[in-house]
């Protein structure tokens, strides 16, 4: 399951950030630096107006706007219902 496939309001736990092409994917590196680390809770806040191409997520205490292609690099597992 990856982040770009979640629905609005979904909560999940980050498993890993995968490079999109060969190693040295700077976007994946930046995602890791920004806190998309294994074990971190992530939730989907909203999608942009035209289709699902932009999403706003909360990772840890920070909110980010991401493109679907960026979110697709984040592998998540759905958290158990509370």
């Amino acid at each position: 399951m990856n982040l770009s496939l979640l629905k609005r309001g979904a909560r999940a736990i980050v498993e890993a950030v995968e490079d999109a092409h060969q190693a040295g994917d700077s976007i994946a590196q930046r995602l890791r630096e920004l806190g998309f680390a294994p074990g971190e809770p992530v939730s989907v806040l909203a999608f942009g107006p035209m289709g699902r191409d932009t999403m706003a997520v909360q990772i840890g205490f920070t909110r980010f706007a991401l493109r679907r292609s960026e979110a697709a690099r984040v592998r998540v597992s759905l958290s158990l219902p509370a």
Binding site: Q29, R30, L34, A46, F61, T62, A65
Partner: protein, 618 residues
């Protein structure tokens, strides 16, 4: 205050931190008005430096480095921060100490950078900023525990409060510079941050309630867009409605001043220079200071509140369709005030081609300098009438001009995207910071900076050009048997008539042609130039011509001419400063050349069409 401390060499300190940690507020708090903005040698990134004195009297030179998430730089801004920290920046000594500013409400994100900076081996201390917001959210931080674990001083600061930086000042004075201990190789930084948080920080809620409540609406796909459009609309409406009373005051003042000189001084060249040259020229542009300030006020407030990245989120998909990145929204919005800071703001766009494209279309965003020209022409040619009972026709035409600029810009980027080679990997990855109330002090400092830039322009280039135009329009004086008006004999008249060959198809008369030349320096100069040319021409009598210009041109120009000049100004790059900053930001003249060709081309074509359409409509 010891003399010894005061005499010691100034300490060089750099402020480093993630974006949105309140670093600039802290910088303002420490240095006040004692700031200087320049450029790093050979690079196009802005260098912000200020100075202040510690309680002991020791002088400090403070460098505000661009916000960076990591020393692995992904943009020119971050590259500067990295290079200065490593001492690799040519012409810039490595700082003696760094103060790492962190947002106390988001230590999970910000502490990571602290740990990264600790690897540099430079004396460092941590400024735990936004403590007031942390307290409000019930976040409790054991400062001493954090200090012990990090091995460097940790000081609480509230940059927005008057004495909020005192703790930092005291620490800089008393603490010996401490170099933080190095972490072992291959430390899992994320785990280390978690350990620190577990030991020292307790957080009742992950997010502020305000953030949740506001974002539910602002980020909503439907309501978010409604709020965005309404905000933009309100902003532009307010700029024109609220500025009016102050503008009238300035106008009356200029008229009175002109009248005073006319009454008190004997007729002659000196009086003509003062009244028709200087007062008319400068006064006609000064009148627009209130509008410009109001526009900047709104933009600064939007920036400080944290709204702009959310707007970029809402617009990203739309802008992508037009060939731009969502991050281009902020630079393009700033261009509505002035393209110079707008083009500089494109530094936050990582992708070089996106950045270049944004720079190319920034001049199409109707900047505040066009307002004097638009206001003059709309006032002269568009009747005061209500449309649909409520909207003013003039307001609608103004909105239409803005709209034309934006749509043209998007069309240009769309064409470039369609016919250019496009690689798909453009990053958005934008932080949506916590909502904050804009702090009056920071807004005021930002506005004061803008006002001073504007007044310098008026005092400098516009004054100089007004005098030049006056001179060109007054000399040589015609001989006694000259049949036509005096000004047509002057240099200005002859140049204008010569240019008419090129501009006659657009309906431009020679006076407009004359005004366009100094108008190349800055857009608002065209108004001053016209005021001077018509005033000296004597057709308006010797009143302060600025106030009389609109009815004058309304009487003498055709509707087509007025419309053509309006459309000309939507496109024509009549601004040296914009071209200069384009050159600086891209490093080549090629960009400037392309911009000149395509913008003047659009201007000529647009004015050509407008002239014919205008005459059909009249």
């Amino acid at each position: 205050m010891s003399n010894q401390a005061a005499e010691a060499a100034p300490l060089h300190i750099a402020l480093v931190g993630n974006p949105n940690c309140g670093k600039t507020s802290l910088f303002n708090r420490l240095t006040g008005a004692r700031q200087k903005v320049a450029n790093y040698a050979g690079v196009t990134v802005e260098r912000k430096e200020g100075w202040f004195r510690l309680p002991s009297g020791r002088a400090v030179r403070l460098l505000d480095l661009p916000g960076a998430y990591s020393l692995n730089a992904t943009s020119p801004d971050e590259a500067i921060t990295r290079d200065v920290c490593f001492g690799r920046m040519p012409g810039e000594a490595r700082p003696d100490q760094i103060v790492c500013v962190v947002d106390a409400t988001n230590l999970r994100l910000h502490l990571r950078f602290v740990l990264e900076l600790a690897q540099l081996g430079i004396p460092m201390m941590v400024s735990l900023n936004m403590m007031d917001a942390a307290a409000r959210r019930g976040i409790r931080i054991d400062r001493e525990a954090l200090q012990k674990k990090l091995g460097i001083p940790v000081v609480e600061t509230v940059a927005v409060k008057k004495d909020g930086a005192n703790g930092l000042l005291a620490a800089l004075d008393s603490e010996l510079p401490l170099i933080p201990p190095r972490l072992p190789e291959n430390t899992d930084v994320h785990a280390a941050v978690n350990a620190l948080l577990a030991a020292a920080v307790s957080v009742p809620r992950r997010t502020a309630e305000t953030d949740d409540r506001l974002d539910r609406w602002v980020l909503d796909p439907v309501w978010g867009v409604v709020i965005l459009v309404a905000t933009m609309f309100l902003m532009f409406q307010a700029v024109f409605a609220w500025a009016a009373p102050v503008q009238n005051l300035i106008e009356e003042g200029v008229k009175a001043l002109g009248g005073l000189f006319t009454a008190q001084m004997p007729d002659g060249m000196l009086r003509s220079l003062l009244v028709d040259g200087i007062i008319a020229g400068v006064g006609s542009v000064l009148v627009f200071l209130p509008q410009i300030l109001l526009l900047f006020f709104f933009i600064i407030c939007l920036e400080e509140s944290g709204y702009l990245p959310r707007a970029a989120f809402l617009l990203d998909r739309f802008m992508l369709a037009a060939g731009l990145s969502g991050r281009a929204f902020i630079p393009l919005l700033s261009s509505f005030a002035c393209a110079v800071p707008g083009i500089m703001a494109t530094r936050s766009i990582q992708h070089p081609r996106d950045r270049l494209l944004t720079i190319m279309v920034a001049p199409l965003m109707t900047c505040s300098a066009r307002l004097p020209v638009y206001a003059l022409l709309i006032g002269a040619f568009i009747p005061e009438r209500a449309v649909l009972g409520y909207f003013s026709l003039r307001g609608l035409v103004l909105f239409g001009l803005y709209f034309l600029g934006v749509v043209s810009g998007l069309l240009v980027t769309w064409l470039v995207k369609r016919f250019g080679s496009g690689d798909k990997d453009h990053a958005l990855l934008l932080e949506l910071p916590s909502w904050r109330l804009p702090h009056p002090r920071d807004v005021a400092i930002g506005l004061a900076e803008r006002a001073s830039i504007f007044l310098k322009r008026v005092g400098g280039i516009i004054l100089a050009l007004s005098i030049l135009i006056w001179f060109l329009s007054s000399y040589p004086a015609p001989p006694a048997d000259w049949q036509h008006t005096a000004i047509e004999y002057s240099f200005a008249g002859r140049i204008g008539h010569a240019m008419q060959v090129v501009f006659a198809p657009l309906g431009f008369n020679w006076q407009i042609c004359v005004a366009l030349i100094p108008g190349l320096a800055a857009r608002e100069v065209a108004v001053s130039a016209l005021a001077t040319v018509y005033a000296v021409g004597g057709s308006g009598g010797h009143d302060a011509a600025a106030a009389q210009l609109a009815p004058l041109i309304a009487a003498q120009w055709s509707f087509g001419t007025g419309l053509a000049l309006l459309i000309w100004y939507v496109y024509a790059p009549q601004c040296f400063s914009t071209l200069a900053v384009m050159r600086r930001e891209t490093g080549t003249w090629r960009t400037v050349g392309i911009a000149l060709v395509y913008l003047f081309g659009l201007a000529y074509a647009g004015a050509f069409i407008a002239y014919r359409v205008g005459n059909l409509l009249a």
